[in-house]
Amino acid sequence: MSHRMIFTAAVIICLAAVGLVVPGRGSRGILEAQRPTATADATQRAVAAAEAFLATLDSAKRAKANIDLDAKTRTVWSNLPTGVAMQVGATERNGLKLGDMTPAQEKAALALVASTLSTEGFRKAMAIVDADQLLETRSAPTRSATTRTRFGRAEYYVAILGKPSATDRWMIQFGGHHLAINVTLAARQTVLTPTHTGTQPASYTMDGKTIRPLGSENDKAFGLINALSAEQQKQAILGFEVRNLVLGPGSDGKTIAPEGIRASAFTPAQRTMLLDLAHEWVAILGDEAATAKMNEIRAGIADTYFAWAGPTTNGKGAYFRIQGPAVLIEYAPQGAGDTNIDHIHTIYRDPTNDYADKLVRR
């Protein structure tokens, strides 16, 4: 018997002895209580929304929209526009694109997407879509006739991976250029990682209002770096350029060695600012799931690092990274110099629980 097996057996026996785990009851007790959970209602709502969406489709479209969930299909997402092979090699996103849906189908598809997201999270996702529509409008007149690359709202795909279920794991994907929302539902838990957000342009006007899809992320980060003392900044600011995401799309399962300043060296106010910054990604998900995830990040705050590369004056482009035991967030302006503030890529991962793998392992 290996040492690991002996240890595991000992842990189970001890926990059973003190009543934290009751064998034969599905290992409920403290392990269950620690799980970040969404309510059964939230899962049921998502299942109902998925079934409602699928009911609007004919069999051919349903077969495209609802595919198997496996280790390969779940990784088919990207920052790239339609028509380009993704980092994992696939040439088309999973699911059915909005441009191939009737208005009723699109309404049901977006209701499905909204069913697991917060109001603000759904608004953010659609603001990214609107930015890409603007990019499409600007670029279409000069586009080469031979290029297969396409931007715009019609090129955003909605997919259901696996069978919508209140008990088994399944996924909802919503993605296109600069957006890959990956929501995994596993029994009572809803997991958002890995998810990619990005935008170009980073600021635009719609109906007389200025829209900045990732503006809060940018502003809160500059607020935090400027709230650090000179000594803290010295630890946080990396002495080199970081011109892109390190663990962007296609980098599942990798963990980089952390760098920057450890939040154990932060004041309580600075920690609050760091958590508030992470919340911008976490809170794309609905309230209860986001609260549970924030509790998990808060629990690991002392072992969480904040790294920065670039100027500290808001209005300039700067890279930053938050890396803790259960979170990795990167924000990377694209390009160099003063021209890089209009094109942003970000990634949100959980090195321990992407695609809800931790839960399934249990």
Partner: protein, 209 residues
């Protein structure tokens, strides 16, 4: 001067759509270093911008037939490795190409194709202690943008202690600590023994009540 500027603008406007959204004139080279006791794996993901595609194609498409054959892809992977240098504790290591994948020509012309190169530096199993790896990427430094990072090792007995880079990340030095192999097994045994002792104590107290 005005004519040059107008020409440049026209050239940009004539570019395919993705160029408006992605790097034009940069060659992004991303390196990840994976540390183990008996090998050092190097992953390089290289993405040429649309304006670099012509140059990259000329390096890749050696017979200029408009297609990248497996042999041409391998030759390019070897060329990249010849331009790279990997040292362990100051001793140069031989890098062996393990895999290379190239995107389609069209994707590279659009500035969105990534060339994936994987290589390994074989080493004799190293003893416990502080080690240092230096990786330098000299592949077409003009116009290139670099990212270089050490991955958290799959071996729990290896910890990255520090990473030092030049400002462009063309060069990275990774200091890491290798603990004695088998140390973790001993630790597991001690923890297991401790837990069993806790159980025995708990039960004996329960029996007295």
């Amino acid at each position: 001067m005005k004519a040059i500027a107008a020409g440049a603008l026209a050239a940009v406007l004539a570019l395919p759509a993705p160029c408006l959204a992605h790097r034009l004139d940069e060659y992004l080279q991303v390196t990840r270093i994976a540390l183990a006791r008996d090998r050092i794996d190097i992953e390089i993901d290289a993405t040429p911008g649309a304006l670099m595609a012509g140059d990259i194609m000329s390096w890749l498409d050696l017979d200029a037939d408009g297609h990248i054959s497996p042999r041409e892809a391998e030759a390019y992977g070897q060329a990249v490795l010849r331009d790279a240098q990997l040292d362990l504790d100051g001793v140069p290591l031989l890098l062996t190409l393990t895999r290379v994948e190239v995107p389609s020509v069209g994707e590279m012309r659009d500035g969105v194709g990534t060339i994936q190169i994987r290589a390994a530096g074989q080493i004799a199993p190293i003893a416990a202690g502080r080690r240092s790896v230096v990786f330098v990427n000299n592949h077409h430094p003009e116009g290139s943008v670099y990212l270089a990072n050490a991955l958290v090792s799959a071996d729990p007995g290896i910890d990255v202690v520090a990473q030092t880079r030049d400002v462009r990340q063309r060069q990275i030095r990774v200091d890491y600590e290798v603990r004695k192999a088998g140390g973790s097994a001993l630790a597991w045994s001690l923890v297991a023994a401790g837990m069993l002792t806790t159980l025995v104590v708990f039960r004996s107290r329960g029996g007295r009540q």
